[in-house]
């Protein structure tokens, strides 16, 4: 699975996710990536793209949950990401990337690694796997 999340200079967030799914899957199997709220979500607060154990991401509505805890618990972006990864994955393994309308970027995962990269207008840039 691949994904990208962006907030532009107008504070508009967007998210996109694309995948080929599971190796040796049954034909017709649908995962989390095309499910809005599970693998992908964006609102006026944030943009989120998820990857990992598809069925766990679906159960947790993982992408939407990041936005929800920001809205209802008042958490900042990284706090929201940490919260959903720790509390909402129900023993599943997954990761996500997220941006907020304020220009923040965050990622979190409980798998052994996630291919990821992020950058901000302030000059921060990082690419990592583990």
């Amino acid at each position: 699975t691949v994904g990208c999340v962006v907030v532009d200079q107008e504070g508009r967030c967007a998210a996109a996710t694309s995948t080929g799914g599971l190796m040796n899957k049954r034909t017709g199997r649908i995962g989390d990536s095309p499910l809005i709220g599970a693998g992908t979500y964006a609102s006026n607060l944030c943009g989120v793209s998820c990857t990992g154990e598809g069925e766990a991401i679906i159960r947790a509505t993982l992408a939407r949950d990041v936005a929800a805890v920001m809205e209802y618990k008042g958490l900042c972006l990284q706090e929201a990401v940490d919260f959903v990864i720790k509390e909402r994955l129900d023993e599943g393994q997954a990761g996500l990337i997220a941006v907020s309308k304020n220009g923040e970027v965050a990622c979190g995962f409980n798998a052994n690694g996630m291919f990821r990269g992020c950058a901000t207008e302030d000059g921060f840039m990082e690419v990592g796997i583990w």
Binding site: V6, L22, R26, G31, E53, C107, V127
Partner: protein, 198 residues
């Protein structure tokens, strides 16, 4: 005027024995895609354009599990899916079951912008793609030798493989077969534990 930010990912769940050169290839691709997005942002492209642009680039490169380089079904074919969402008005578009669309994310965006629906799948999505005139290719375009090898291993192990996206040359992968008997729960005739990792 706010500040822009961008993040990309190429999947979670990574082979802990991934060779260093493979790790470097992945990092180079991620860096290239980040720079592509950064250039677009500096050109004042809106966020929805930037996410589509970057994901198209990731779909075109066979390194990760999307577009070209997608994981294979049990039949040795590719079925792809994608979704996109625009935050300000929460517009969204999604597609599943694509077999000939070169860039699924662009079709998802067309669903969002050119149809009254949010999600199209299988033959309906393919028909919409033809009507919209997006680039179509044979299913073989998406299939790589590495993934054919991974599928062969999965079938021999009778399991769904962990999605270690960049295989070691010797195909040293793990399958969930060893844990197959831990839980009595089954899905589609296979122990639930086989489905755990993506």
């Amino acid at each position: 005027m706010g500040k822009w930010a961008i993040a990309v990912h190429g999947g979670a769940g990574v082979d802990p024995n991934l060779p260093v050169q493979r790790q470097e290839a992945a990092k180079q691709l991620l860096t290239r895609c980040l720079n592509l997005g950064i250039s677009a942002l500096r050109s004042n492209c809106p966020s929805i354009d930037v996410v589509e642009l970057v994901v198209r680039e990731l779909e075109t490169d066979p390194l990760f599990n999307s577009g070209r380089g997608s994981a294979l079904t049990e039949n040795g074919t590719v079925e792809m899916e994608a979704s996109i969402m625009d935050g300000p008005k929460r517009r969204c578009g999604a597609v599943s079951g694509l077999t000939t669309v070169k860039n699924p994310i662009s079709l998802a965006r067309l669903v969002m912008e050119k149809s009254p629906h949010s999600y199209l799948a299988f033959s309906g999505a393919e028909e919409f793609a033809r009507q919209q005139g997006v680039e179509l290719v044979d299913n073989e375009y998406f299939i790589t030798e590495e993934n054919l090898g991974m599928l062969k291993l999965a079938k021999e192990a009778n399991s769904i493989l962990f999605d270690y996206r960049i295989p070691n040359g010797g195909f040293e992968t793990c399958s969930a077969g060893a844990a197959a008997t831990d839980s009595p729960l089954q899905m589609n005739g296979l122990p639930i534990s086989l489905y755990a990792p993506e």
